[in-house]
Subunit: 338 residues, 2 copies
């Protein structure tokens, strides 16, 4: 009888082991399904799958160790919608309105007057200088903690004007899948954006799965000080770093300290990041441009666009054999809410 | 007979499973031994063990999720020996000598003349300005890739003058154990040093287990350019960021985007990092100062020291109840080569 029970125990142990093997294989099979379901089959999708297969195949000449699998993503127009204006500009304009009562002088002073009057033509006439003035007036003279609260408060209420949804809903589902797929294959995913580093960090982990330390962006200077014996970092109205165009490789080098082997952008502001990633690389590398071709489901724009101008980078893509994604043709779905 | 083999297979499967359980338990038991064998029992060691136990005990009021377990370490004097001079200064002086033939004018021009003459008194007389001039002359006007090669080449040949060993051997074993222990408990470990970020990154992974992206330091400006169609970052002779004193919280915020919950330093240059980590913190937090008290095994210095001055930070440690490590009393071993 004891032996019988012993055998039963042995069989039970074996059965449990076999059962869990079956369950494991099943979940592996599921995981091995299409990792990019929002991408239509075609050259763009295949180029991604081929690249990942190449760098992860151990023992093959194209194999890249996990420590070197760095992928960088532009944000505006690459991960989320940048039309009809950059989200951070919409934020700054709303902040001018919200804080107008503290600044009665703004009623008569450009570029603030234009914002308060809703006169976009007059605002445009103030040029980049006007925009910088608005950014400084709305992004500085508060602690980093206070700024984070202002950003999160605004994001919870503001709505993208066409889709009538929070801006953080207007992110591209195919790119979310792509980041998840890369991470599952040992990549570290970084944002490298011309947008403000502190404007993005409070929400990138929740929305993209990218933690604060993996966000690179433009910044203003900050100053350490004690306020009632509690340390704060005060945001100063001085530009610290512009993480755009030739600034992107500089920001990548400073923050990551390694060259990416894959980079993703959508405009001329990403050209140098894509060059830095691919030209003269010692390992297989990959560059991709998201081309906004779908005026029905999103916005269609490129060479002539004021926001997200795609001109030199599109020419470079042809010469360098970078992948160009047509949102209209290559993406079965654009937004998660569709 | 078939059944016999079947039973043998079952028993073998079970045996393998039991055996691997035993092996696992053994390695767990080993891992549960003293994680800090080079630390003598005492207040300092106990304060570390207590802090880690507090923040990792799930369900307890002091529990801190893994995503927030950030620990920052100064480098010079905290992780490796900074006497008789900062390693990076020794590097710069050697580079002046190595490159003197390309700069015949240096024979007559201070501060270079003093370096070439070996006249440390005349060099000291040129002050911080002289040092900056030497740093710029030896750290700039080359690509980031070339600079990395120069650093690694120098480190392979240079020897710490007292211990006659490579500088990267003269690291503190108790701190290596501490970093390993923290990482095993879900911490991300960062270097936050006044030293050059690009001077450290080529070797911190091998020596400390800290990858390039987790190194924060001082920097000079770089510029993206194409050289024969290959992108490079050219190092410019202009200060970009000084990651020392009040610069450390600024650097931490810029690179990590989170407040550390533990910070480790050894001098007044670390004061603001320790304040930023502990004062007004929302979770349990920890600050530690390595006090160089062992003139026999290493160097003894503090309030009067030119390198590694420990004055205000030592006073602050008393007021704020930070842990102060006496190298003489608290560390059973200092260097791995002992």
């Amino acid at each position: 009888m004891r032996q019988y029970f012993h055998r039963r125990a042995v069989l039970k142990a074996l059965f449990t082991s076999v059962a869990s093997t079956i369950i494991l294989s099943k979940s592996r099979a599921l995981a091995q399904g299409d990792p990019l379901p929002s991408w239509r089959d075609g050259k763009a999708k295949q180029s991604i799958l081929d690249f990942v297969a190449t760098v992860t195949r151990e023992g093959s000449p194209g194999f890249v160790p996990v420590s070197q699998r760095v992928a960088t993503f532009d944000n505006d127009g690459t991960l989320w919608c940048e039309q009809p204006m950059y989200v951070q500009v919409a934020f700054a304009l709303d902040q001018v309105k919200a804080r107008a009562s503290e600044h009665p002088e703004w009623k008569k002073k450009q570029p603030f007057k234009a914002v308060l009057d809703g006169d976009m033509k007059a605002l445009a006439a103030t040029g980049e200088r006007g925009l910088v003035e608005i950014i400084m007036a709305t992004h500085a003279d508060m602690s980093t903690d206070d700024f984070e609260r202002v950003v999160m408060d605004w994001l919870s209420k503001a709505r993208q004007p066409r889709f009538k949804r929070p801006y953080t809903d207007c992110v591209y589902k195919p790119m979310l899948e792509l980041m998840t797929y890369l991470r599952a294959n040992g990549f570290r995913t970084y944002i490298v954006s011309g947008g403000g580093i502190e404007f993005m960090r409070p929400w990138t982990e929740r929305v993209y799965g990218i933690p604060p330390a993996q966000v690179v962006g433009s910044s203003i200077k900050t100053k350490f000080m004690l306020r009632r014996d509690i340390p704060i970092l005060l945001r100063l109205p001085q530009v610290n770093f512009v993480d755009d165009g030739p600034g992107k490789p500089v920001g990548i080098n400073e923050h990551i300290g390694q060259r990416p082997i894959a980079a993703f952008g959508n405009s001329d502001g990403d050209l140098q990041m894509l060059q830095w990633t691919t030209k003269g690389a010692a390992t297989p590398c990959f560059a991709l441009i998201v081309h906004h071709t779908d005026g029905e489901r999103e916005y269609a724009y490129d060479r002539q666009s004021h926001v997200g101008r795609l001109d030199k980078a599109l020419d470079a893509a042809k010469i360098n054999n970078w992948t160009v994604v047509s949102m209209k043709d290559d993406w079965a779905r654009i937004f998660p809410f569709e």
